[in-house]
Assembly symmetry: C2
Homo-oligomer: 305 residues x 2
């Protein structure tokens, strides 16, 4: 089953050199979740053949324009394309005012139920429960209220070792085995030990999104050992002072966080428009954390089961 | 001197088939004026090498998202790129609320003075006076308050016929001639008749922007004989009922207005996303008004002096 991240935008505050504003699609078991929604996100969705109507929920990290200005147009297109399924958007306080005032002046009444849940960006908490995963928001340190998101598959069942499975085993016993119990006969006597017929569950995959933020070791606990980490790196280390002043990070800082949190893979993005060539970001980060990849528009980063 | 219109977006409410949301740049004597600003207008400006900092004023026809959602991102980029020159935006009532609430939640204080002048969309009036032209807003009939814009060069001076000009004529007399007066000696006696030394002034070029609107003959008086008319044509005639219901126009209706108003050239646009191929719009319109052209992204439509 899929657990894939597609980058729609890798740029910082100003679109430049083909790099769009922050936006990503996380696809879990075929369902799409949109993370941040900079201007022209709907254009990217068209480009990559992702139907807006198929988006289940939207997660907005903060209310700087490059992270949410595509929302109103996307909502409007969903409406015009006949969406009836309700949509939930998670965002820091203020988004509701911003959306409602625009709906008011355009005299729009949406065909679908739009729910905007405003987040407490000061603490970590579970905000969404899907069929197979949960999403948590957690605080990021930026110039305005800002949060990251942690998507984590729920614990999975043990896997039946089909090669060893006796043919006469009842469905009830198969469920018992998957849940980690032993198989029993009608009188409750163990007939097969769980460990003899099952394999450990597949890993519960996880993705953490950290944008925008300064270097912050408070993140380590939250993102510890995630399979995939996106961490902003607006600047290179030669502009570390500028990064500090604006509550952004450098490629080196992102890599340091990834290394300390023992994540499996790091994706860096939110590159400032002052850089035309972004390969130095990779060079700088890889030196500290080998499994670093550049966010590139249209690229998929999948976690195997 | 230039009087050119560049189309940035030719599409209707949903971007489709490479057609972006409504936006145009009118360049008069080298100065840029932005007319409507749909989502991703700043991306188009980058594509066509137009510096946002060089935009003198912005004219917004109405508050449907496809006509203004690119504004906030554009304003933000102007700020980040260090604009200090003040900017004026003309728009129907509501835009100020929409912009201010977004500046508030993003905690932004702009480097430049942003003036939003809210328009009375119920009547025609002069709203802007440039060095060489004036802009008027006038009512359009749409589902929400909406106005068109008429840009018209000011009357020009008579041209000196250099071939016939006596060498000894004073500067004062040349100015007299350009203003339509006769040349005189120090005692106020006519020495050259104006008509003998001058040619008529060049024409005062004009451009009218009509989007979005239903078919409305009240426009004829305003747009009478303009050099360039943009009139929306969201639908083809086979969807005339749909056009009427949604206060939009068909290609045939746009052409009829152009013909009745005796304009020189018509550009049609705001094509609905339901049409992949837009050549039928041209076919339908040209039958009624020969000088019809399709709005196409990146295309320039200039009026010669």
């Amino acid at each position: 089953l899929t657990f894939c991240l597609k980058i729609l935008g890798s740029g910082g505050a100003i679109p430049a050199y083909g790099r769009n504003h922050s936006s990503q699609i996380l696809t879990i078991n075929g369902k799409h979740f949109l993370i941040d929604c900079g201007e022209a996100t709907q254009h990217s969705l068209i480009e990559y053949g992702i139907k807006p109507g198929k988006i289940e929920a939207i997660f907005i990290s903060h209310l700087h324009g490059d992270h949410y200005l595509g929302l109103m147009g996307l909502i409007s297109s969903m409406h015009l394309q006949g969406r009836t399924k309700s949509l939930i958007i998670f965002a820091p306080r203020g988004l509701k005012d911003i959306i409602l005032i625009q709906l008011k002046y355009s005299n729009s009444i949406l065909n679908f139920d739009l729910k905007i849940e405003e987040l407490d960006t000061s603490r970590r908490r579970k905000i969404y429960e899907g069929k197979s995963f949960t999403a948590e928001s957690f605080p990021l340190k930026h110039r305005i209220p800002c949060c990251g998101f942690l998507f984590k598959e729920k614990p999975k069942l043990r896997r039946i070792n089909k090669r060893l499975l006796p043919q006469d085993l009842s469905l009830q016993n198969i469920i018992r085995l998957k849940n980690g119990e032993d198989a029993m006969d009608d009188e409750g006597k163990v007939i097969y030990k769980n460990k003899n017929l099952t394999l450990p569950p597949r890993i519960s995959r996880s993705y953490a999104y950290c944008s925008d933020t300064c270097y912050d070791e408070a993140l380590l606990e939250v993102i510890h050992q995630v399979d995939l980490l996106y961490h902003e790196s607006t600047f290179l280390e030669d502009r570390a002072t500028k990064a500090k002043e604006t509550f952004h990070s450098t490629a080196k800082e992102a890599a340091t966080i990834a290394k300390k949190a023992k994540v499996k893979r790091l994706i860096i993005g939110h590159f400032s428009a002052r850089y035309k060539d972004i390969t130095p970001f990779e060079t700088e980060a890889v030196e500290i954390f080998k499994e670093t990849f550049l966010a590139i528009e249209g690229q998929d980063y999948c976690v195997e089961e």
